[in-house]
């Protein structure tokens, strides 16, 4: 497997990134070096192995499924830390830039 400039450009698009010529050159080189390193995995027989999906085999810790005010939302939406953290707000609502 080799990463071509064309594939890199597709991956950049999927990642919502635009790369400069210099970045494309360097990333193509770095990613191909890594893929070459990853080849060592090919020889391992894992046909009977169950994948380790998370970092733990223990069961999930869950909250009770009940309606309640969470965190700062207990305060009026116009004046709480969550809405204050928005980059732009109007009347306590997230103000979104023009996207169309």
């Amino acid at each position: 497997m080799t990463i071509t400039k064309k594939l890199l450009s597709h991956l950049a698009h999927l990642s919502r990134l635009s790369l400069t010529e210099d970045e494309s050159d360097r990333f193509t080189h770095d990613l191909n070096a890594l893929l070459q390193h990853f080849q060592e995995l090919e020889s391992i027989d894992v046909s009977t192995i169950e994948p380790m999906i998370g970092g733990t085999a223990l069961k999930n810790t869950m909250r009770t499924d009940a309606v309640r005010l969470s965190n700062e939302m207990a305060v009026a939406p116009r004046d709480n830390d969550i809405t204050r953290a928005f980059p732009d707000a109007h009347d306590g609502h997230l103000k979104v830039p023009t996207i169309l």
């Binding site: 070096a33 733990t56 965190n71 953290a85 928005f86």
Partner: protein, 472 residues
């Protein structure tokens, strides 16, 4: 800098016997920061007024003769990917510049209850991606022991703050060695807890099946104190476990430690390790033997695949976690002010907001998860990860803990490895296995780490505390 305030126990004794007040101790910490940090750059932000208010509260309690917790008044440094309500939280990324944390991470809430004081937020590699703290969008942190060298990473600011006397202890996060490698480079102690032992609620995620929050401290006892304060189940983190820890963390039993066997995996003692590091590790083994701890050579045969597995699993999860940074809900980069349409806005924010290493890992992660390549890379890596975990399960049938070097090299020069990311990745070669297997690991100031069984932090912290007590 007074030695009295450099460890948590001594701090507590000094504070409660009124040798100094919490305000005086805090002032001394800020004096050190003022004297050193323009050069070291451990901190990205400090909030002196708020810290002062916290210290005044503690002093009032003490003046009233009330009993205060062990961590009361203790000045702590917090890595900038952990949320402290009302303080900046940027993960050292331009894409989060100006973002203020709306709530406390669970670890912060717990430490606040204990009366700890938050001195400031520390520098790191952007999004915790790196081994030198050179990938920060805002500053390069220097190693306080030798300012021509890197402090390690990604929790390099936290390590430099503690090693430089600019905090008594610190929190960092460890995805592939990001607490242990900087602790090692700065000559302090770092603990990566078992996966699930500490809540990650309020930690900006990098790779969710690997990330853990843990302490960086001057002594093993301090690491045990901070760990005990932050550990435990949290309904806000579904991966947190209902483990219970107690007195055994801070008050280990010598006879129990003496009955232990430590494994030495032959795969970690390979050609290419710096001779000085190997000599330190060998001396450490001799010191343990003087405690009558037994050693046994073991094998962890899939170790050699760990780097490949890590650099598939970690970028995959990171690329997914970082998709939320689109320049709409969080900070917006100035370059995107005139973006046209949603796609242009996303792309401009992300292309200008993320640094080199973050982009590299997002693209790699997108590749290993993409249709047609998923099975060959991501699915395969998860299975080999299971084999790495199985190696440890087998080994722990015979031994109680495993001792290995932390890093194959001593701290390198600033700028030495930035041109070649693959060489930088090799810094993690001995630390990533504990993350892949979800195990606790304690980095000690003599270039070695102790890896323990899941939720057996008490074993490695106990061994570490006895190691400390017998001295050099």
């Amino acid at each position: 800098m007074s030695d009295d305030i450099l460890t948590i126990k001594k701090f507590h004794e000094g504070l409660t016997s009124k040798v100094f007040s919490a305000r005086e101790a805090l002032k001394e910490i800020y004096n050190v920061i003022d004297a050193k940090d323009a050069d070291i750059r451990a901190y990205l932000s400090t909030d002196r007024d708020r810290a002062q208010t916290q210290a005044e509260e503690i002093d009032r309690l003490i003046d009233r003769g009330e009993k205060v917790p062990l961590l009361a008044g203790v000045p702590l440094a917090i890595k900038d990917n952990i949320m402290v309500q009302g303080e900046p939280c940027t993960a050292a990324s331009k894409i989060l510049a100006g973002y203020t944390a709306p709530y406390d991470a669970t670890v912060i809430k717990k430490l606040r209850t204990e009366g700890a004081i938050f001195v400031g937020k520390t520098n790191m590699d952007e999004y915790a991606m790196g081994s030198s703290t050179e990938n920060s969008a805002f500053a390069i942190t220097k190693n306080p022991r030798d300012t021509t060298k890197v402090p390690g990473g990604s929790s390099g600011g936290s390590a430099a703050a503690v090693a430089g006397g600019m905090a008594v202890a610190a929190l960092g996060s460890d995805t592939g060695g990001s607490i242990r490698e900087p602790a090692d480079f700065c000559g302090i102690v770092g603990l990566k807890p078992t996966y699930g032992a500490v809540s990650r609620y309020g930690l900006i995620p990098m790779a969710s099946s690997l990330d853990q929050i843990g302490p960086l401290t001057n002594t093993v006892e301090d690491a045990a104190i901070v760990f005990r304060a932050i550990a435990g189940e949290d309904p806000y983190d579904s991966t947190s476990a209902s483990s219970t820890y107690g007195e055994e963390l801070t008050n280990p039993n010598l006879e129990h430690m003496r009955a232990m066997t430590i494994g030495l995996p032959k795969e970690y003692f390979i050609a290419g390790i710096d001779a000085g590091i190997l000599a330190h590790v060998e001396r450490a083994i001799e010191r343990f033997k003087s405690l009558k701890v037994r050693f046994k050579e073991i094998s962890l045969p899939h170790t050699k695949y760990a780097l490949s597995v890590y650099y598939i699993v970690m970028p995959a999860e990171a690329s997914s976690n970082l998709a939320r940074l689109e320049g709409i809900r969080y900070a917006r980069v100035p370059e995107a002010a005139n973006a046209l349409g949603i796609m242009d806005r996303y792309v401009t924010n992300r292309s200008h907001g993320f640094g080199d290493e973050v982009k590299r890992r997002i693209i790699l992660g997108t590749f290993v998860l993409s249709s047609g390549h998923y099975d060959a890379y991501y699915a395969k890596a998860q299975k080999v990860r299971a084999l790495i975990r199985r190696d440890f399960d087998e080994a722990f049938k015979d031994v109680d803990a495993i001792l290995t070097p932390v890093s194959p090299t001593p701290p390198f020069n600033i700028g030495e490895k930035t041109k070649d990311p693959l060489t930088m990745y090799l810094s993690d070669i001995f630390t990533i296995t504990a993350n892949l297997a979800g195990l606790p690991a304690l980095a000690m100031p003599h270039n070695f780490q102790l890896i323990g069984k899941s939720f057996h932090e008490a074993d490695i912290l106990g061994l570490g505390q006895y190691f400390e007590r017998i001295g050099t």
